[in-house]
């Protein structure tokens, strides 16, 4: 079974339908909303598998289906659908992970009064995300992109009665909006210079050779190729969505939403949309690499930003105490990895990591959700602890996720995808710095994950909530197990021995890269060693002497209070932004308002006052000089009027008489005049 590209719209349409149903069901229609959402997702998953099947039969081609949206002059604005392995793999991943998370949410959210609303928003999100994946037009992609942002906004603010949730939702929307404006400008520029927004259009698409050539051919005054500028603007959007430095600040706050939301949107799928966008636009982004004279290449920027983000995220994660925030910063860091991979030229590696990350990060978040649910919404790892005996399945799956994330060798998927990225970075000939940053992050990742597991599951329960925790239903653990299986197995799709996934994605022949692996064998060993170092350090600091009470000081804080404080406050980015962007904003607003009220309004008022003043002046002059004469004249007119009005006797006889006499006189005049 395959799914032709014309019917690709079915995949996003089904969840959209479910969202519509969810929006219209009353509050007591819980099962209808949830059931339709899950059913839609399941069918979408099956359809995605069909689509994947079709795409894999001809991996090198881009099947497109373009259609007109509305008329524009003699042309029309056209949108389109696209089916290639990238789309298909992403669709399968999103629908599968999404399906599991939906199932998980069935139990997780069952206490919530807005249950049906939740599934409505989730379905809306899924629809938008899938639409984003199947889009063959930057415009359609942008539309879905924004809708994804809307869904994210709604879901972060799902518990809108909490001021923190409301604020976080707004922050997420605004921050990503900054990036989106970049994307919008890039899109406008692209549209303006190439006259189309379709990715592939039989040779006229923006990602096809003719257009790329013309785009790289034009240079701006500063020496940048137009394609570089557009690429950077598009990357702005990607950075906003994927939480890249400096727009990463919203992602940790987004953890105010329900945990399944965090798992689906802020770990597995939406945040990866930025990576997907860059991968999708890779021909455009990489078009300028051939121009040697360019001051900077778009991908170089991507690589450095990715490296910096990977490092920063990992660092800050070490200082967080909220189980979800640790994972959130870990997500930031991993997204940095992916961007790094894109920047250094291996978009297949980036997508490979994206897929594996989706599984294990979703696993980790759901595991965290399971813990939180069991511990009655206690999220602080210092107050948890001792959960291993109480929640065996959760612990086992969480551990698998942790090892996958840390990159424990050979068995876990994270290892393979991360190795692919590190190798790509190693082979990048522009700068070694990204490689170093990546390697450092490997250590840190292993370290903070060890810390997290040790604090959460080992030792003794440090709060009543943790003491009373017990394993959850199969509805929640089932998805965990499935995701854990995926987190283990998925790695084998792209091992260097048999890089099937990469080959299918890029549409090239399958050939083993074992030789390359061994050529840089040192790197492999180094990274394995670094993972081990991280694990050991973590265990040494946190596992050796287990925490006894929640108030106990963190070993790291003991070692270096200043570093810990800085890390815990997320290196002060929020404060920095509040002091700069926020301040600037309110200042501009005050300025604009002031300009309005006092300067322009004042001017107008002055004019008005001036008018009143001159009016007064002229009245005075008029009254003293003109009016006098005028009064005289009008008095005489009135007098004469009074005199004449006496003719108006009111006596009807008089009038009648005058009429009759006038008639006589007139006739006489006529007769006399006529006779003459």
């Amino acid at each position: 079974m395959t799914l032709p590209v014309q019917y690709l719209w079915l995949i996003p349409a089904l969840p959209l339908l479910a969202a519509g149903i969810g929006a219209l069901t009353p509050r007591n229609g819980r099962n209808l909303a949830a059931g339709s959402a899950i059913l839609a997702m399941a069918v979408a998953f099956v359809l995605s598998c069909f689509a994947l099947n079709g795409a894999l039969q001809a991996p090198a081609t881009h099947a497109v289906y373009n259609f007109a949206w509305f008329d524009l002059g003699h042309d029309a604005l056209r949108l389109g659908l696209l089916l290639d392995p990238l789309t298909a793999f992403m669709c399968v991943m999103v629908t599968f992970v999404g399906l599991l998370i939906f199932i998980f949410s069935l139990d997780y959210m069952k206490e919530d009064p807005n249950y049906s609303r939740f599934f409505c928003f989730m379905s809306l999100f899924a629809a938008a995300m899938l639409g984003l994946l199947v889009a063959n037009s930057l415009l359609l992609l942008f539309i879905c992109w924004e809708l994804v942002g809307l869904a994210s906004y709604l879901l972060i603010g799902f518990w809108f009665h909490k001021p923190s949730a409301a604020a976080a939702a707004k922050k997420a929307f605004i921050t990503t909006r900054i990036g989106d404006l970049g994307l919008l400008l890039g899109m406008l520029w692209l549209y303006d210079s190439s006259g189309s927004l379709l990715f592939y259009d039989g040779g006229h698409g923006v990602l096809e050779a003719a257009n790329l050539a013309s785009l790289t051919g034009q240079t701006l005054s500063c020496g940048l190729a137009v394609s570089t500028a557009i690429g950077l603007l598009i990357f702005c959007g990607a950075a906003g969505k994927s939480g890249q430095f400096p727009l990463h600040v919203w992602l940790p706050d987004a953890m105010e939403g329900p945990t399944p939301v965090s798992a689906l949107i802020h770990a597995a799928t939406m945040v990866a949309a930025g990576v997907f966008l860059v991968a999708r636009a890779y021909p455009l982004m990489s078009a300028d690499t051939l121009i040697a004279t360019a001051p900077v290449h778009a991908l170089t920027v991507v690589a450095f930003i990715g490296a910096l983000t990977a490092l920063l995220g990992a660092l800050i994660a070490c200082g967080q105490t909220d189980i979800k925030r640790v994972l959130a910063f870990s997500t930031v860091s991993q997204l940095g990895y992916m961007m790094l991979a894109l920047g250094v030229g291996s978009w297949t590696a980036a997508i490979f990591h994206l897929l594996t990350h989706a599984f294990f990060k979703a696993l980790l978040f759901l595991g965290a959700g399971s813990v939180i649910h069991a511990a009655h919404h206690e999220q602080d790892i210092r107050s948890l602890g001792g959960l291993r005996p109480r929640m065996k399945i959760t612990f086992a799956t969480f551990a698998i996720g942790m090892m996958a994330l840390s990159g424990v060798p050979f068995l876990f998927s994270g290892f393979w995808s991360k190795e692919a990225i590190l190798h790509a970075a190693h082979e990048w000939n522009v700068s070694p710095l990204p490689l170093y940053a990546g390697l450092t992050a490997v250590v840190l990742t292993a370290f903070y994950m060890t810390r997290l597991v040790a604090e959460t599951f080992f030792g003794q329960a440090r709060s009543p909530a943790a003491e009373h925790a017990h394993e959850n239903h199969a509805v929640m653990t089932g998805p965990l197990v499935l995701l854990a299986v995926g987190a283990v197995l998925l790695g084998f799709l792209g091992t260097p021995a048999c890089p099937w996934l990469q080959a299918r994605l890029s549409g090239t022949e399958l050939h083993s890269s074992m030789s390359q692996l061994f050529a840089s064998g040192g790197l492999l060993l180094l990274s394995i060693g670094l993972v081990g170092a991280g694990l050991v350090t973590g265990w040494w600091l946190y596992g050796r002497k287990l925490r006894q009470t929640a108030e106990h000081r963190d070993p790291l804080a003991v070692a270096s209070p200043a570093v810990m404080a800085a890390l815990a406050s997320r290196l002060g980015f929020d404060e920095l932004y509040a002091a700069t962007v926020g301040r600037l904003n309110s200042l501009t607003a005050a300025l604009a308002n002031g300009l309005d009220r006092w300067v322009i309004g004042g001017l107008v008022n002055f004019l008005g006052q001036f008018g009143v003043f001159s009016g007064t002046l002229s009245r005075e002059t008029a009254e003293s000089t003109l009016n006098h004469g005028f009064d005289q004249v009008s008095a005489s007119i009135r007098g004469s009027g009074q005199r004449y009005s006496r003719a108006q006797t009111g006596e009807a006889h008089g009038y009648l008489r005058v009429i009759a006499m006038a008639f006589i006189v007139l006739v006489l005049l006529l007769v006399l005049g006529g006779s003459r």
Binding site: H653, R657, A660, M661, F663, I664, V667, L668
Partner: protein, 172 residues
């Protein structure tokens, strides 16, 4: 023919003149009605029987009633009947003078003009023909007259009606 006309004219003018001269208003009104009837007779004589009947129906049947009602409703106290003051005598004099002058001028004009001798028989006009003429060529005018009559009726009612506000207290 002419004899009949002269008889009619005597009735017509005589009653009209008498009406204008009588002090008693009711007599005046009744004499006027006679005069109107005379006009109707004239119409009959001229062969316009439809108009004659309309004249009788409207003037003798309707307007006369309104006039009589008005006379009765505005009856003056006989005691307050004022003797003719000099001003009114003056007015009467000038009025009659003016009327006589007009009559003189008009008569002179009529007598000095020449008319082509007319057909001996009246133009044959059936009621149906009048109706068709009214509805077709004069349809607009007919509508307008209808509106005028309605408005006049309503206006007259409103003008003549007493204020109804005093009524409720009368009720027990």
């Amino acid at each position: 023919m002419t004899t009949a006309l002269i008889l009619i004219a005597i009735l017509l003018l005589g009653s009209a003149a008498a009406a204008m001269l009588r002090r008693n208003l009711i007599h005046s009104a009744l004499l006027l009605i006679a005069s109107w009837a005379g006009v109707a007779a004239f119409y009959l004589w001229a062969g316009a029987e439809f108009v004659a009947f309309a004249q009788v129906l409207i003037y003798v049947g309707a307007i006369s009633m309104v006039v009589l009602f008005a006379v009765l409703l505005t009856r003056q106290n006989p005691v307050a009947e004022l003797p003719a003051e000099p001003a009114s005598r003056m007015r009467a004099l000038t009025g009659i003078t003016v009327a006589v002058c007009t009559a003189a001028i008009l008569s002179a004009a009529i007598l000095s003009s020449k008319f082509t001798p007319a057909a001996d028989t009246a133009p044959q006009t059936s009621v149906k023909q009048i109706g068709l003429e009214l509805m077709h060529r004069h349809g607009t005018a007919l509508l307008i007259v209808g509106v005028i009559l309605t408005v006049a009726l309503l206006g007259a009612t409103i003008l003549a009606a007493t204020d109804a506000k005093e009524k409720p207290e009368d009720r027990p």
